[in-house]
Symmetry: C2
């Protein structure tokens, strides 16, 4: 169903605010218009393209990971506030899927969420004690998984970190991680 230009543009503003990782292509599909139309909309509205949006986010809120070497985080960390929250993106490639059905293997989604849960903790030694996780819907080749992690409970040596991973608006994974942090 095609929306009026006004409705489409207000939807654009809302969608990009909710999910800065949305590409023009995905947005075009959602609105049943061409990519060119979305680009023009963005220009009229003054919304920068995705790469610029991410750069802006990264500059605004980017603490350095302390508990891991940055390259040990599975997925790309896009935003990080130590002891508060973090966001990472993992695009599902052929290396991540079962050969027979192109569905992403669960441990990659787990690894993305788990490493983000560890990365947001401000300590040199952080280990996962336990986790309760749920694979909400299968993720397939090419999908972009955006994980949001949030510290919901802090004790001197234990943190509870909740992680929600979405593909566009679809929840695909949820996890509650209980992590241990060594107090120095």
């Amino acid at each position: 169903m095609r929306l009026s230009k006004k409705k489409r543009q207000s939807r654009l503003i809302e969608s990009f605010q909710k999910n800065p990782f949305l590409t023009d292509e995905e947005m075009a599909k959602q609105c049943s218009v061409s990519i060119q139309t979305i680009r023009l909309d963005r220009m009229e509205l003054g919304i920068p393209e995705m790469r610029e949006r991410l750069k802006h986010m990264a500059e605004k809120s980017f603490d350095e990971v302390r508990s891991l070497s940055p390259e040990e985080v599975i997925g790309e960390v896009i935003s990080l506030e130590l002891d508060q929250s973090g966001v990472s993106v993992l695009e599902i490639s052929v290396d991540h899927v079962f050969e027979r059905n192109q569905i992403a293997r669960g441990h990659y989604l787990f690894a993305q969420a788990n490493s983000l849960a560890v990365a947001i903790v401000n300590a040199d030694l952080v280990l996962t004690r336990s986790a309760a996780i749920r694979f909400v819907r299968p993720v397939t080749l090419g999908e972009k998984c955006v994980a949001h992690a949030k510290v919901v409970q802090k004790q001197p040596s234990r943190f509870q970190v909740d992680v929600e991973t979405k593909v566009l608006d679809d929840m695909v994974f949820q996890g509650v991680f209980d992590v241990y942090r060594a107090t120095n």
Copy 2:
């Protein structure tokens, strides 16, 4: 503390029965004797060496994995009875550990357990729905993780699989996996 030969030999029988993956070297360390002594004990007792023990186990109880390509299982599957139980071994290499402390990354232990939980189900399409997991103690470089999976509940389209992973006698990981299996 050194045991008498008789006590050592009865301990050997018990240990190898409980854990067929024990090497002579590990057993020697446990008993504070030389590897040669353990070899002689095994000969006297008629216990074959580890490679032979594993081969024997493998011949005795080895169904074929159906839900995955065999090379998609993380770790080496040593025993498998579809819809019943399975055992796999994962030796922690430099690829599996954090560079700064040589502790195995949680997602590898999760991947071993999760893929085994899927592998033991007799169906073409098996997906993990949810899991509750616990990392009992850190695992370090070179340790050999033996995961035992057991189907504890069967419904037509849902199985509960419990997995316990040990290094020698030490529990290092526990997981309860709720897996979905497509009924054909």
